[in-house]
Subunit: 340 residues, 2 copies
DNA sequence: GTGAAAGCGCTAACAC
DNA sequence: GTGTTAGCGCTTTCAC
């Protein structure tokens, strides 16, 4: 690998001069600059980022911590972060931290060791307290898809409650009254918020939600299937299902189909997240769009900004989901059969 | 950030000694080691990776270059690489390089600048020649999902031809004779190989494939839809469709559905790749499983190994796809209606 | 066994 | 304008 000294020697100048032209800062004579640039090009010189990081005490690195890149949601997250980072001349290092607070803390630790200036973290397992302490120690740390009241300016989050309300109101507007809700068994903050949003909307429309009408299972396709199956076998009567997320919703559609119940003719289904798969399903899933990429990109910029200026302005970073109408919801009046 | 000197000072030893205990190498007295370790723990000292990289001339970084992490296939790729890297105490930096050879070269450039020792690259746009030169310059560079004859030991690839043959034979074994093929318009190496595999299997079964029975479009859902639509409007008669990949296959299923043709009752459809979405579709897609994660993990290990030893053994790294039977293919005899 | 010293590639004062 | 020097945090001879 060719170094700054090599360039300096060949160009017949000092390393400082080369450094100046590379960074485009400081005074350098016009002809001298041209000469040096020529040598740089000829030799294909690239500054050693590690050396730069060492001397500058910053590494221009954005760390992204999340459960698993291979899951569509997190892939989109990583992608959004990468785009924003690239614009600011940051590289991004990905750290999967799946399943436990321990894994998450190890990821942070490793990123710190690399002197990551900025970090975007999707934490599912650490407590607010732990995260607050972390945020306190690391100025460039930003949380995505999570709201921590003590550090609102460090959180880039989605209004799950309002989103769920919108979904519910949409279903109501379609004339549905017999409504089932499927949520996740372990109620994390998202699940609580979305569930409450649904209840709020239903209540204010004068539609009551009986606990017998809510299914609770794992937040994946299998969970969705199991949840509706139980609802059906319990004799619950419904013409529409509000589902916690797209994965579960797809499961719901599949199970309904297996039971000979057609979506949307017999039952309408609405999801949440707008994952890639929602469009692969037949019928395509009507769902609430979660602007992951935009949020991730925003979070990345925020993290970088915070790491550089540490100005922790009081502004909040709240995003709104919006409805995407596809094929899984229709008017209740159009329903021919009703199960139950 | 606390440095090796801080630890040395507090522990009352020299930096060299601290370095020895941190790395667990070299002779250190037992009590001395314990004392130093204690200070390390108390102070929460973490070696600065940038400094290590600088002095060791290696950064323990694995670079992953691909079009776009947010696409399910590449997410899985990144994930496989990350897992393998973590095991070897490497960090992974992701670089999206979408759409052009230029973008790919810039990604390489940036990774070199970071002194990445090992790189796993998914190149869609660079030529074999360019890639060969690169491989020559960078010992730890490995290509995934691509076979370059001149450097077989640097390529981790899938036998697309045999996979396609298997898919075709499977369809034949189900009694289908009227077969349509949908491939991509711009025939990259994968597309050619898969198409030839299909022809090989069909030929040796004495089934001829007329060019009128092949649709060529973009390799996405919309392309799949457009391709069958054309086939149908051209009056082509078929009871099964062999599709280039899952995305197109899903599009095919959707379009067929829109035309009132049922899958698999009227027409069987088989895909290739086994993306996450293949299971979201209804019916779930029968397809050839592409072991991306295993391959990526293997490629990561290979890249790291090559970067460390540069022993470029002559072995090849060929993987095999395998059939995953789900719901989109049935016996031809079971077909009630045949379109055309 | 342990420490002193040099140097990895770069930048940032400070001279000239 | 340009060069000299010191030093970022670490590892690695080489003395002792």
């Amino acid at each position: 690998m060719i170094t700054i000294k090599d360039v300096a020697r060949v160009a017949g100048v000092s390393p400082s001069t080369v450094s100046r032209v590379v960074r485009g800062e400081g005074k350098v004579g016009k002809v001298c600059r041209a000469k040096v640039q020529k040598v740089i090009d000829e030799l294909g010189y690239r500054p050693n980022i590690n050396a730069q990081a060492l001397v500058n005490q910053k590494s221009n690195t954005l760390g992204v911590i999340m459960p698993n890149v291979s899951m569509s949601f997190f892939g989109a997250l990583a992608c959004g972060a990468e785009q924003a980072a690239k614009e600011q001349n940051y590289r991004v290092v990905i750290s999967n931290a799946f399943g436990s607070e321990k894994a998450e803390m190890e990821a942070i630790d490793s990123l710190m060791q690399h002197r990551c200036d900025a970090i975007v973290m999707h934490s599912a397992h650490a407590s607010d307290e732990v995260l607050c302490k972390l945020a306190d120690k690391i100025p460039g740390l930003v949380f995505i898809n999570r709201f921590i009241p003590q550090i609102p300016n460090r959180c880039v989050w989605l209004d799950n409650n309002l989103g769920a309300q919108e979904a519910a109101r949409y279903i109501l507007s379609k004339g549905h009254i017999d409504i089932a809700v499927i949520t996740r068994e372990v109620m994390n903050s998202d699940a609580k918020l979305r569930f409450e949003g649904i209840k709020t909307a239903l209540n204010s429309a004068g539609v009551s939600l009986n606990e017998t009408n809510v299914g609770r299972r794992d937040a994946d396709m299998a969970g969705g299937r199991a949840a509706v199956r139980e609802l059906i076998s319990n004799g619950v009567k419904f013409s529409a299902v509000l589902v916690y997320n797209d994965n579960m919703a797809i499961g719901v559609i599949h199970e309904l189909h297996a039971c000979g119940i057609q979506v949307p003719q017999d039952v309408s289904v609405i999801g949440f997240d707008d994952l890639l798969i929602s469009v692969a399903c037949l019928p395509q899933l009507t769902t609430m769009h979660y602007p992951v990429e935009e949020m991730a990109s925003y979070a990345a910029k925020l993290a970088i900004e915070l790491s550089e200026n540490s100005i922790s302005s009081g502004r909040t970073h709240l995003f709104m989901p919006h409805l995407v109408e596809r094929g899984s919801v229709i008017e209740a009046t159009a329903i021919e059969t009703e199960i139950g």
